[in-house]
């Protein structure tokens, strides 16, 4: 098929999708866990134009007469999972030239055709915070994405009310950004890490002040500085700081910086958070935690425990989970919550942590994270209890479009693995079957 014919077909497909979306679709008979509100047995979820229009018990929802219905009896439906910290898409942020590079955008690095995107879909993840790494005090700007099937990054972006694509910024402390014994610009001690960060944030305060003073007089504006511009957004609270931190003292250092400069912050990883749970609660900052199968791997994670989520929950901290993919596999993200329950978390909070709590950390809780009328139709169909090892994600929907279906052989292979699973780019725009096979 020539390129022109393919484009024509693609256009035709797109309009077909739009038509299908405008017709309401009702998923009937499933156990629905809306996250906000009690689970609904024998429930109905109605979606249209990529949004949820109704949700409730079967006898309480009047399904629109023109709706197509999907029998979901015996299945469980819950919101698409929100992953507040991931590295899918073969991303690389800041380079080795400096420890603080706020101007770096992960936007400019992500490969949306990498099969890690599809692994995330297979794991039921519909919204993700894609971050640069932790080998820097500041490794750049993160990106909040809908895990759609996209040909380019533009297809996955989420826009705010000012039509600006959304994302945060990655900060880190502890051992990862350190280069002890080095002669370069990287810090060698924890105190140096904090001082370098404070120095940059003070500069950003000056930069912001110059802009404020310039008022409407453009001639008085400071010369544009990409790094300062970004940190000014941080100081203005417009860009959430996602602070990689493990050890209890590093957690407190992050909180100390946050208090001094007044930025908005999510603590990320928080391995020793269980030691300073009251302090985290008092600071009022949320914590996105990682669940690893055993302690160690590096010195600052030797006190990892499955109980961290439970201890933080009891202290009143807003707890979320993340994959840190590839550190843990997006396909088994739900086990983080289940192991959190094993460590003493309540089922409700553990599921909330995978969805609403993470959505709040990304300022996306008005759009995703729960099943409520008006919210995006991002949801997953599960074969059973979300926290059971035997449960599989059967289908994943993003804004009403099915992006993963375990009954599709290629999707099944992504979900389980298999020969050739990575060599092909499973760019599964359905009408483009021959492109997916790499036969172009």
């Amino acid at each position: 098929m020539n390129i022109l014919a393919k484009c024509a077909l693609a256009l035709c497909c797109l309009s077909l999708t739009a038509w299908a979306q405008s017709k309401p679709q009702a998923f009937v008979g499933a156990r629905i866990i809306p996250i906000v509100g009690q689970p609904i047995e024998n429930g109905v979820l109605v979606i249209q134009n990529g949004k949820i229009i109704q949700i409730g018990a079967r006898d309480a929802v009047k399904i629109p007469s023109d709706a197509s219905t999907v029998d979901a009896t015996g299945k469980t439906i819950m919101p698409g999972l929100v992953d507040s910290h991931s590295h899918i898409g073969e991303v690389a942020g800041a380079d080795g030239s400096a420890p603080i590079q706020p101007e770096i955008r992960i936007l400019d690095s992500i490969n949306v055709l990498d099969n890690s995107i599809q692994r995330a879909q297979a794991g039921g993840i519909t919204t993700v915070n894609v971050m640069p790494g932790s080998g820097h005090l500041n490794s750049g700007q993160t990106l909040y994405l809908k895990v759609k099937d996209g040909r380019t990054i533009d297809d996955l972006l989420i826009f705010d009310k000012d039509n600006k694509y959304m994302g945060g910024i990655k900060f880190a402390n502890g051992t990862n950004p350190m280069r002890p014994g080095g002669t370069g610009p990287f810090p060698g001690t924890r105190a140096k890490e904090a001082s370098l960060m404070r120095e940059q944030l003070l500069k950003a305060q000056d930069y912001r002040e110059k802009i404020r003073r310039a008022g409407n007089d453009k001639t008085k504006l400071p010369t544009r500085d990409l790094a300062m511009e970004t940190l000014a957004e941080v100081l203005d609270g417009k860009r959430m700081v996602h602070f990689h931190t493990h050890r209890h003292d590093d957690v407190l250092t992050a909180i100390r910086l946050q208090k001094e400069f007044g930025f908005r912050m999510v603590l990320q990883h928080v391995t020793e958070g269980w030691k300073v749970a009251p302090e985290i609660a008092k600071a009022g900052v949320p914590a996105s935690i990682i669940v690893i199968d055993s302690p160690g791997g590096k010195l600052e994670t030797v006190e990892l425990r499955f109980e961290t989520g439970a201890i933080l929950e009891k202290a009143g901290v807003a707890v979320g989970f993340h994959t840190d993919d590839y550190i843990t596999d997006s396909r088994v993200f739900l086990r983080s919550a289940a192991l959190g329950v094993r460590g003493g978390m309540s089922r409700e909070r553990a599921l909330y942590a995978m969805t609403m709590a993470n959505a709040k950390m990304l300022d996306l809780d008005r759009r995703v994270g729960s099943l409520e009328p008006g919210k995006d139709a991002d949801f997953i169909v599960l074969s059973g209890d979300p926290l059971s090892v035997y449960t599989h994600v059967l289908q994943t929907f993003v804004e009403g479009t099915k992006v993963f279906d375990r009954s599709n052989s290629k999707d099944y292979e992504i979900a389980t693995g298999g020969f050739g699973v990575k060599s092909e780019l499973h760019a599964h725009i359905d009408c483009f079957g021959d492109v997916a096979g790499g036969n172009q």
């Binding site: 690893i292 199968d293 055993s294 302690p295 160690g296 791997g297 590096k298 010195l299 994670t301 030797v302 499955f306 590839y326 550190i327 596999d329 088994v332 086990r335 289940a338 192991l339 329950v341 094993r342 926290l387 059971s388 090892v389 035997y390 449960t391 599989h392 389980t416 693995g417 298999g418 020969f419 050739g420 699973v421 990575k422």
Partner: protein, 413 residues
Amino acid sequence: MKNGKLIVVWLSLLLLTAYCLPFTAKAQIAVRGETVWTMTTNEPLRDAVVLINNGKIERIGLSSEIQIPANYRVITAKVVTPGLIDAHSTVGISGYLNQPQDQMQIENSGAMQPELRAIDSYNAEERLIEWLRGFGITTIHTGHGPGAAVSGQTMIAKTVGRTIDEATIVPTAMVAATIGNSALQSGGRAPGTRAKIISMLRSELLKAVDYNRKIDDAKGDAAKMPTRDLRTEMFARILRREIPLLVTAHRHQDIVTAIRIAKEFNLRLILDGVAEATQVLPEIKASGFPVIVHPTMFRAAGEAEFLSMETAAKLKQAGIAFALQSGFEGYVPKTRVVLFEAGVAAANGLSFRDALATVTIDAAKIIGLDARIGSLAPGKDADLAMYDGDPFEYMTHCVGTIINGNVVSEVVR
């Protein structure tokens, strides 16, 4: 003052006794389980009792049939299984701190060093041993890791004991080898290619053939024996089939290569990793060699990029003897937990019992200890794991572990 000193002495003695107790006292215990998976039959026993005496299993039967003697400590649990076996690990050799001083799984000075003994670097007080014990894992086959053509020996230990001698049950279990990229050297050092790995291995084995011939020719005459050479000695033992060669190979061509060499030299081969096993199932099956398959949740990256959560189920369907493992990780997690890996295997095509077998009786068979561990039967080591529900469920806890008849863990994990 004198009294005070006496109290201190008595207290110390008491503490010492308490400390030594788990390792010395052979308590009499009755473990009563709502469900008891003995692994000697296809179905579990319901409401059964395992009597433990002097470190061994004394008797097993339904509660209705067994009178628990009055002096036995009774422990009850929802689900009881044999103590779990991790068929291939590097725990105790590759430490959880992940610092140069505790990473003893690979020695980079040479490509082939089968003389390196695991017992000379096993750290019995490694934190991860306690971690695994808390999940019901009672035996680990551990040692030198994948990542060199021949990296060294492996050993088998119970996950208990303050010293290597208390822990070890088989000091030299296998010799670990790797066919694949991780065994390749750079900068002109050998081996730099797969073919070179194999030519070096064959050369060493041929040397050992000669060594064995000299030993045979000596007919016990010490004067005629060849000069001892630790390296050749180990290859010679492999050739005499005293010790299996454990070959980590992920790519399908490497799996076939391992089989080719094992046939040429009539070796006892155990295939390890085998991410691409499904490409060569008939060849593995025909070889008759057992497999220690990659962890179900192993990272699908590098040479293992085509692994599948269903590899275990496909090996089972093909009728190949296999066990699960925790494997080796360079970063996190420093050890996986075979209990979790078996659970994911059970969720991806294996039956519950077959999945449990991969970390109990089938693992015991592959590491050559099925007469002693891996199932619950009279006369076997009293190694038991106890759970408050389906052992594979994420939200279930391991509530107790017994090794050699001693309760060695009562944490709820």
